[in-house]
């Protein structure tokens, strides 16, 4: 069983103060790099792949017995249309995104709505390392060690009302920082959503880092969603708004091509994309394709969420 889950390692102590000072310092550092880029000193597109290590991360909260994708590939081959539609565009154009200061609006069906700074948002949540498979809807995959915390822990703080049934997310909308947004390739801002039970599932996390480092801009700094049993496009990046809703929210790719990208977007080898098979995938770094696993290999943990549902219809 390649999957290890340590539920006892959840929501215990609080991030030490020293870590916050450290974090603030790092954010300032990021701002300096960002400013440098604005001034036109763009060092070869690898701006943000510079390491900004995160401290006090609980190692191995979820591990995986599969080779991790090299950092260079996971940060150099990205889909983040806000930074361009080519795979190498995001690492090249990520430099204009300023992630400090950053705040997130949490509203909708919650008892305590409001806008919180990133520091405040992160404060009570110990960071965990979780190694997940990442399966893109384009039939390639990676293995990425994320650093983050369960989304459910965050949502509970804002006290969802009994009416809340879904969670909607929005990416920052600012074509100056995210130049891809100056063209309507998708309808901006990028929007994603989960059913509340999916959002509360312990595998669903908000990530602030990967490979022990702060998230590079091209990977969705400073805060992104990771739902390992769903196709990668569900993992919305650079989140500025989280809204609890009664109705199923509109999601970007579903809006763009409803017959190709469903709301659920659970990894499912049996349901082909209209233009390609989903039964196999290319793990980056491997030559032969490998079989795609139902729910991306997390069926034991999440299949029960969809008991009785026709997964071909609700794809």
């Amino acid at each position: 069983m390649p999957f290890r889950w340590n539920p006892e390692l959840q929501s215990q102590d609080i991030t030490p103060e020293s870590w916050f000072r450290e974090r603030r310092r790092l954010l300032q550092g990021a701002a300096v790099v960002g400013a440098g880029v604005l001034l036109g000193v763009e060092p070869f597109g690898e701006v943000t792949a510079k390491s900004e290590p995160l401290s006090d991360v609980r190692p191995g909260v979820v591990t995986l017995d599969e080779a991790q994708t090299p950092f260079k590939d996971a940060t150099g081959y990205c889909n983040f249309y806000e930074l361009g539609s080519g795979k190498e565009d995001p690492s090249r154009h990520g430099g204009k995104l300023v992630t400090d200061p950053w705040s997130v609006l949490i509203d909708g069906e919650v008892a305590r709505p409001g806008s919180v700074s990133l520091e405040e948002l992160l404060k009570p949540h110990p960071l965990e390392e979780r190694v997940y498979r990442m399966r893109c809807v384009e039939a390639w995959s990676m293995v990425i060690p994320w650093v983050g915390f369960p989304l459910g822990d965050l949502l509970k703080r804002f006290e969802p009302t009994p009416k809340a049934r879904y969670v909607a997310f929005e990416t920052l909308h600012d074509p100056k920082q995210l130049p891809g947004q100056s063209r309507n390739v998708l309808q901006w801002p990028y929007r994603e959503g989960l059913r509340l039970d999916e959002a509360m599932h312990p595998l669903t996390i908000l990530a602030v880092g990967m490979y022990g480092q702060r998230l590079p801009n091209q990977n969705g700094a400073p805060l992104r969603l990771v739902v390992p049993w769903k196709y990668g496009f569900k993992g919305i990046k650079s989140i500025v708004r989280i809204t609890l809703t009664e109705q199923q929210p509109v999601t970007s790719w579903n809006l763009q091509a409803p017959e190709e990208y469903g709301f659920f977007a659970n990894v499912n080898p049996e349901v082909p994309h209209p233009r390609w098979e989903q039964s196999s995938e290319r793990r980056l770094g491997e030559f032969r394709r490998r079989e795609t696993l139902p729910f991306n290999g997390y069926a034991a943990q999440v299949a029960s969420l969809y008991a009785g549902m026709d997964l071909a219809r609700y794809f």
Binding site: A74, Y77, E138, R275
Partner: protein, 194 residues
């Protein structure tokens, strides 16, 4: 003349050499398979567009000699199309014929790509001097298959794109101009351009 053609052939190998160099250096990025397939698809299409540019250009006084390169250009385009399709069969699916067959039957963009490829095959085969002689005036007619083939390739390109249609649009525009010029010629002269 033969020497000039050999030069065209050599020049047309430069993209392949560049690709091989990249592969050797490990410089094809995180997804080399995708890179190879797209690279060869792009050059196949560009080869077709270049081939289609010869006829309009040779109408410019003094440029009629360009015709000498047309066959070589067409063959180069076909060469990259073969690499593109080989990349799909070998690198992408590693001879998983069942999957490939399913792809061809179920995925319109693959069906269309294959149709374009099959249209190009007879053109490549009949590009020798012997065939030109044997076919006579039918040769010209047969080789007009490059028009539908190119259109299908651009459609193939459109259909594989997820959301950002800029690149296929640019190619469609160029192809539109090249084919539009021929339509214009035909309307003006009441006969197809040679």
């Amino acid at each position: 003349m033969a020497r000039v053609r050999r030069w065209v052939w050599l020049v047309s190998l430069i993209p392949l050499a560049w690709l091989a160099w990249g592969a050797w250096q490990g410089g094809l990025g995180a997804n080399p398979v995708e890179r190879v397939i797209r690279f060869c698809g792009d050059w196949a299409l560009w080869g077709l567009l270049l081939t289609l540019t010869v006829t309009p250009l040779r109408r410019i006084p003094g440029w009629s000699g360009l015709i000498r390169y047309r066959r070589m250009l067409g063959l180069s385009a076909f060469f990259y199309a073969v690499l593109h399709v080989t990349g799909y069969v070998v690198l992408d699916h590693f001879f998983a014929w069942q999957t490939i067959l399913k792809d061809i039957l179920k995925r319109p963009y693959i069906t269309i790509g294959l149709t374009a490829f099959l249209l190009l095959v007879p053109l490549a085969i009949t590009s020798t001097r012997g065939w030109i002689r044997r076919l006579g005036s039918a040769w010209q007619k047969l080789h007009r298959l490059i028009y539908p083939a190119s259109v299908l390739v651009v459609i193939h390109y459109f259909m594989m794109v997820k959301a950002d249609y800029r690149a296929p649009l640019v190619h469609a525009g160029i192809l539109g101009v090249l084919l539009g010029w021929r339509v214009g010629w035909w309307l003006w002269h009441r006969q197809p351009v040679g």
